[in-house]
Subunit: 120 residues, 4 copies
């Protein structure tokens, strides 16, 4: 497994294209916080994995500079969440990706993420 | 363990006060990404754990609305990173927290996080 | 003029729908900073005006909680920039809007903005 | 006046140091939105002016990449708001600034801003 962190959490890479990627995570008990809901860090990690895959898809390594997340809806235990990353801008030095998180069964948006990378 | 996600990743709660919290994480091999550096999701999760502890410290449950992160410096495997959350504003309905991530040994800032919560 | 600030800067409302809005601004000399390029605040204000129009389009007043912007490309003096706001999520209490800024003549993306509102 | 945009809005530079700056703006009628409160773009522009002054204080031109704002409290017409920018991290290529907005008379925090620049 080339990405130990994703393996630790159970994040799978579903699709990978030039500047795009989709990752998936099923919410299990060991991803819950003290409220009994999925930890924000778990959803973030899912989004970040799609962002990293998409931003590194062109060959040159990309380093994350800035990210932000809006948490929109709660997710139930057992649900599978998909994160779909799209490249919205790219120059030689920086690039921007939008990642939308939705539940797999009904397509409800649960979070929106945006990230910016730098290519050294 | 009341927070299974933090237990999964190895995030410890070091300090907890009224509106403040410090969490710690030592970077192990299973937190690395495909570049061989700590996954952004691991550092985010550390920050988010401090944010959640601080924002829930007043008794009423707090729900995360928005977060953002600036990644500033790379972290080596084996290093311990501290996340210190401070309450910078609070009204009856919303509150804002700043979380600064530093390496434990030399205090270098590696990331800055800000989060906003809503109390239903 | 019901929005004095927009009148001060020269921001026009081009379109307004349920949860959507488009605003426009032509970059004039009095919007420049000390680099001789449009001030970030001018582009932000254009985006924020579309965000405010879209988020208040349902009747109930909406209060901005959080916004973020990625600056992607420089804009020349004389260019007209369009900001198009789209509602990406809405519950009874909060809503999220994405605003994309493009040049009118060639449609190049110059900035991406996301905002979250609360309805008291 | 070297910064026409700040002159247009009435933003003054109060202090400028190495990596730091303070700007001030008094809320006048022409800065109001359709709610009759100061436009978010006016407060943002005040913060952005402090950010720009601080980030360009070292001599090399700095280009804004990403910014974010939390709006915390309403501001009355007639109030003077101060924006204080502090450099929280700097490498050869990028730097991070935090800007805190407070009312001049009672020091209440009304917004928090963070920005990241790139030096080409």
């Amino acid at each position: 497994e080339s990405d130990p962190y994703c393996a630790t959490l159970g994040i799978d890479l579903r699709e990978l294209g030039a500047g795009s990627a989709t990752t998936a995570l099923t919410v299990t008990d060991d991803l819950l916080n003290f409220h009994g809901t999925p930890h924000g860090g778990a959803l973030y990690s899912l989004a970040d994995a799609a962002f990293a895959a998409a931003s590194n898809s062109h060959g040159d390594p990309a380093v994350a500079l800035e990210t932000n997340v809006s948490y929109l809806a709660a997710v139930d235990v057992g649900a599978t969440v998909l994160a779909t990353a799209t490249e919205t801008h790219r120059t030689r030095r920086t690039a921007e990706y939008e990642v939308v998180l939705t539940t797999e069964t009904d397509g409800e948006r649960v979070a929106t993420f945006r990230g910016r990378v730098y290519r050294p």
